[in-house]
């Protein structure tokens, strides 16, 4: 598991990108998918995930759809077109950032200018 500080800035990118790839998902599914794709190295806590989902909804990046399962209510999350765009721009930015940090930590790998 990585430190909270490291994850903080990437959470939004991860959640948006997952929803962009998988369409409609519910909260528990998002945490399980993240765990599966990262071999358990990134674990989204409920404490971070749900407030973020509420925020993304408030910002217009996703919409929710609610279904009742017996006594439970399940909320499904889906990106809006704005959310799709945001997912692309954030993940491109992040990939670029990772590349830059790799060069910064290993100057020998950096392309000669």
């Amino acid at each position: 598991m990585y430190s909270k500080e490291l994850l903080k800035g990437t959470l939004r990118t991860i959640v948006l990108k997952l929803l962009a790839e998988h369409g409609t998902m519910y909260g528990y599914e998002i945490t399980q998918k993240t765990k599966e794709l990262t071999g358990g190295k990134i674990v989204l806590t409920e404490g971070a995930l749900y407030p973020l989902l509420h925020k993304l909804e408030a910002e217009g990046y996703l919409v929710t759809n609610t279904q009742s399962i017996g006594k439970r209510i399940r909320k499904y999350y889906e990106l809006t077109p704005e959310g799709d765009e945001k997912a692309i721009s954030l993940s491109n930015e992040f990939a670029d950032f990772v590349q830059t940090v790799i060069y910064l930590l290993n100057p020998s790998l950096a392309p000669k200018t």
């Binding site: 929710t64 609610t66 009742s68 006594k71 439970r72």
Partner: protein, 237 residues
């Protein structure tokens, strides 16, 4: 995949309510999340009791606090805000209201129930099923089974929860912006209290058969500037 029984679900809800209280904004999501967690553990061979213990270990009280703090940090409008932020967001809200207009934004436009149910009695003049005379029906009756979760149809504030045995039975009235009020009647349970702020889609109680009623149903009313309007027109398809 294992599906929890009703009593097991209840047990999880009790544990959740005692750790986050009833007002938590993320309660419904957490409830489903916890149930999924327990179901997954049971699918891997744990008994319900073992899975429930794992849940308690996995999700300690610190985690609950973190959710509340995160939520506060993400949602301006709560007491942690400084006066400056408050003034700033009010100014922003004012501009928003002026520009966007509140009416179209905030009017109650979703169904008060999560699934589709038949309308057993529409809006307008009808022969009252008990009084047997023509009366104006101020709302719609949805034929929902007992104890179906009822949600509010727009952001608002609870202005009334009362029981009228010879009328609406247990009912809730919520006041919204733009001169709208919604009424949810013949309930079996109200989970909100007067003065509470409610967000659109939040569960406020369960349907029932209280008051003047011949069978379980939900009576749902929208009033615009105190005048009943036809809810069917407002519920977006």
């Amino acid at each position: 995949m294992i599906r929890l029984s009703n009593s097991e679900t209840e047990k999880i809800l009790e544990a959740l309510s005692s750790s986050v209280g009833n007002s938590a904004k993320v309660k419904h999501e957490l409830f489903d999340h916890w149930c999924c967690f327990v179901e997954a553990a049971m699918s891997n061979g744990s008994s319900f009791e073992q899975a429930f213990e794992q849940l308690k270990v996995h999700f300690d009280i610190e985690e609950v606090k973190a959710i509340e703090e995160n939520y506060l940090a993400y949602h301006p409008g709560t007491p942690w805000m400084t006066t400056l932020q408050r003034v700033g967001s009010m100014a922003a809200m004012l501009i928003f209201l002026v520009v966007a207009g509140v009416d179209a934004q905030k009017r109650p436009d979703i169904s008060p129930v999560f699934d589709q149910y038949p309308i057993s009695s529409g809006f307008g003049d009808r022969i009252h099923p008990i009084a047997k005379e023509v009366q104006h029906h101020n709302g719609i009756d949805l034929r929902v089974p007992m104890n179906t979760p009822i949600r509010t149809t727009a952001d608002g504030t609870v202005v009334k929860t009362e029981t009228h045995p010879n009328g609406h039975g247990l009912h809730i009235i919520i006041s919204h912006t733009g001169g709208y009020e919604t009424l949810y009647a013949n309930l079996s349970r109200a989970s909100v209290s007067v003065g509470q702020t409610i967000v659109k889609g939040e569960i406020i109680g369960e349907s029932g058969n209280s008051g003047l009623s011949t069978a379980p149903h939900l009576h749902y009313e929208i009033r615009h500037n105190k005048k009943p309007v036809n809810p069917e027109v407002y519920i977006s398809k």
